[in-house]
Symmetry: C2
Subunit: 490 residues, 2 copies
């Protein structure tokens, strides 16, 4: 998995004219090209393109550092493809084999499915039928979310894919796993004894994971209204952050050892009764309001392409318990939503309070110690501490020590995809989700959705521009805690 | 001990024309005056002065914030005084009583002995004989270092003082205890569970306390050549920093509870055999060399007023063990010296390494976690951590999170004396040393001096401008450690 394993590869890009490819993937490939990754790309989509017009589309999608990007663009080829037409795949095989020989790619193939989910299975099957997966090199399938919409559909999709690919060949993208500071959680925890020593229920009172957006439902209205925040964000990104924050140190820093530890976290999440789901999972939907930039925005039900009676949640706050020796009694709070006060993803680890001692009179103002992992837009760490004020009173005051990524290498737009694609070229699937992780997470989500479907859990409304409904605050207040302000709104 | 206890007070300043008074004490009194402390001062020294000429000396010693400091200066009176002449004290009593009435000082008196140590006892005795200590208010004796030159002389001095003052009335100055970040050690440790949780031998591998100077022996040559770094710095300042770093949390944050905990540390310091003193305490003396500013300076033996064969140490490095449950097996290294690379006082707490695991291959570059308490010239904290590099390798890199006092209130020239004098006015002796602390420290120093007197322990030379002799580095290297670079020289 080191740099020497950068083997030449053919990338078959499904959805080559789509949004994700144009916003992220070509820029990521350009980055890898500059890092000396050898590859050629066949763009695949329904609409007609020549190689040349496709290269022009790719060129428009990237921000080149240098004038001459001809050699990079010349590696891009295009074939119109209708996934429902098996014969398209026959000519695709022919083109693939040609390019394979031309660029000495050794038969290594990445099949990147940046497609509507309903095509996942058929794409895989047609690849197999046309013999494209029968290659002398290695083959990796990269598959974008959503991986199913519940456990049964995800299981079916997985079985279909396993007809064509081995589990080890399937790279399920969760782009949060490509983010610098998400990848940094392991280093922070396991390369710093000062943190790992206190990373347990004896020292930590609760963990708060927030991923908030200021955007509304936007152009994804149709998809989003059928999906909601729970399945769009919690099932994948939020649960992955829970797992990385909570997992035991792996025996080795190898892919399967790390995934095993994440699965152990999912297995230890306390199953929830209908009653506890009602009280521990808040669902919210935004109404009209004023964003922090002053703009007045519509409520969710007034958005284009949204049912005016929609009960889809645009906000979720949840409390999970992880019933193992490390986390006994420590609530993990997660929240995510659209049209919130700020765009921010961060993990707040709150440490237990100092002993209540009436004679520690100088320590009246002591705030809890917090370690904040800033995932986006800032990338870094804050540690909130207490020091003596610099005066004669001897009273304490809260301070914050900070570390920010100012390496200049961060480019979190495409950055996550650079790292994930690079891993995929190298054959390192650590930062992709294994099937059992996905399955355990779906199982938990399904139990929540089942209760919500009974319509006994109220949908709580919140004004656009706020931090969610009051019930989200009450969820923590019942435990004696509160959501810490996002760093960007402090 | 709160602000309301600022009672009007008469300050009898012995050594009123001396260096300390002019450099620090008048500035400190000016600061307290601006903070609404009511007082009058009688300056006492051998040389003749009028009230007016003394006020002019005081005026020259301070940096006023405002033009008009007449009211402040008018509180200063002067009386020539020969400590060996009891009759001087009779007229001093008369003047004191007059000023006491004039300013409604209620008989509260601070006797500040900024004197050569040989006068301490006589000054106290003559104060008593003249009835100056027989006052209706409270009386505090402030006494500058050195408090004796070994345990017997310190014991004798203490007994003499106790003939005149109670232990609770004696304020033994260790001006390091007035420094912001020394006073902050308790808040850092006990108001931050994240630190207190790991503040023990299970998590800390060693503690390094450095106080380095770039200055040479200067004008104190006579005194210094008879004293040396061990008694000048280690006996008091360094051992106080050891005690504050190592002590258990007190039951209450009260003066005697805190002092009790510090004494427990001194009691737990492992007594040293002659052999262990030879191997664990390094003594050094500077030779000529080049300072970091490029200036070429003389060796100690060539300094004015220093015996050209002097064996006085200008550098000490020592290893102490504190044999209690908290610190079992953790070396406390201290070093102090003149003519070193930089002027700096800091405490480095080094945490234990991560497990040696060959499969943590990404973690090759992991450096130990360090908490650095910057005492001077910077005031603040650094925490040295490891994070994943912001690139695709996944390797770690060391980072430093910092907090600096930028409150603008720091004025560490007089600042320590402002805080200590303020405490003395308020009757809070927490940041002064109690007799038993002093006695335990002397006992330890005496055991070292006794071995050194046998001339079996070599005096190791170091070039001016260096960090001390090689033996200082070897002291740590034998234990598998090294002195961390001072922050100011990093």
């Amino acid at each position: 998995m080191d740099e020497t394993q950068k083997q030449p590869t053919l990338v078959l890009m499904f959805g080559a004219t789509g949004d994700l490819a144009r916003r992220k993937l070509y820029q990521a490939l350009y980055q890898l090209y500059k890092n000396n990754q050898e590859f050629a790309v066949i763009g695949l989509a329904r609409r007609p393109h020549t190689h040349l017009s496709f290269r022009s589309l790719v060129s428009d999608s990237i921000t080149p550092d240098e004038e001459h990007i001809g050699d990079f663009l010349n590696r891009f080829y295009y074939q119109p493809l209708d996934i429902e037409q098996p014969e398209s795949f026959v000519s695709l095989k022919k083109l693939s084999d040609e390019i394979d020989i031309r660029y000495h790619l050794g038969g290594n193939r990445i099949f990147y499915l940046s497609l509507a989910p309903r095509f996942f299975t058929l794409a895989a099957q047609n690849l197999k039928r046309a013999g494209l997966t029968d290659t002398v090199g290695w083959k990796h399938l990269v598959i974008e979310k959503p991986f199913g919409h519940d456990l049964p559909s995800a299981t079916k999709l997985n079985e279909d894919l396993l007809d064509v690919f081995d589990e080890k060949e399937i790279y399920r993208i969760d782009h949060y796993l490509g983010k610098e500071m998400v990848q940094n959680i392991e280093a922070l925890r396991f390369a710093n004894p000062i943190f790992e020593s206190v990373w347990n229920h004896r020292h930590i009172s609760n963990v708060q994971i927030t991923s908030s957006e200021t955007l509304g439902v936007g152009e994804r209205a149709n998809y989003y209204d059928q999906t909601g925040a729970l399945l769009d964000m919690v099932q994948n990104h939020m649960m992955q952050m829970v797992a990385l924050t909570a997992m035991e140190p792996p025996g080795r820093f190898d892919t399967e050892d790390i995934r095993d530890e994440k699965v152990k976290v999912f297995k230890s999440i306390r199953p929830m009764s209908a009653e506890s789901i009602s009280s521990q999972i808040v669902r919210g939907q935004y109404t009209s309001g004023v964003l922090s930039d002053g703009s007045v925005v519509k409520g969710y039900r007034d958005e284009d392409n949204i049912d005016s009676k929609s009960n889809t949640e645009t906000f979720v706050a949840a409390r999970f318990y992880i019933d193992n020796y490390r986390w006994s009694g420590v609530p993990f709070y997660v929240r995510t939503g659209k049209r919130m006060t700020a765009k921010s993803t961060e993990i707040v680890v709150q440490f237990k309070d100092i002993p209540k001692n009436p004679y520690f009179y100088h320590f009246e103002d002591v705030k809890p110690n917090l370690l904040v992992i800033h995932i986006q837009p800032d990338e870094g760490l804050s540690l909130k501490l207490n020091v003596k004020q610099f005066n004669e009173t001897g009273n304490t005051m809260p301070i914050s020590m900070k570390f920010s990524n100012n390496s200049g290498t961060s480019d979190y737009g495409a950055g996550a995809y650079v790292r994930l694609l690079s891993d995929c070229f190298k054959g390192d699937s650590t930062n992709f989700t294994r099937w059992d992780e996905v399955a355990y997470s779906w199982s938990l989500m399904d139990s929540i959705v089942a209760v919500w479907k009974e319509n006994k859990v109220p949908l709580d409304f919140y004004e656009a521009g706020s931090m969610g409904p009051a019930s989200s605050d009450q969820l923590l207040a019942r435990d004696g805690f509160r959501w810490w302000p996002l760093t960007s709104t402090e």
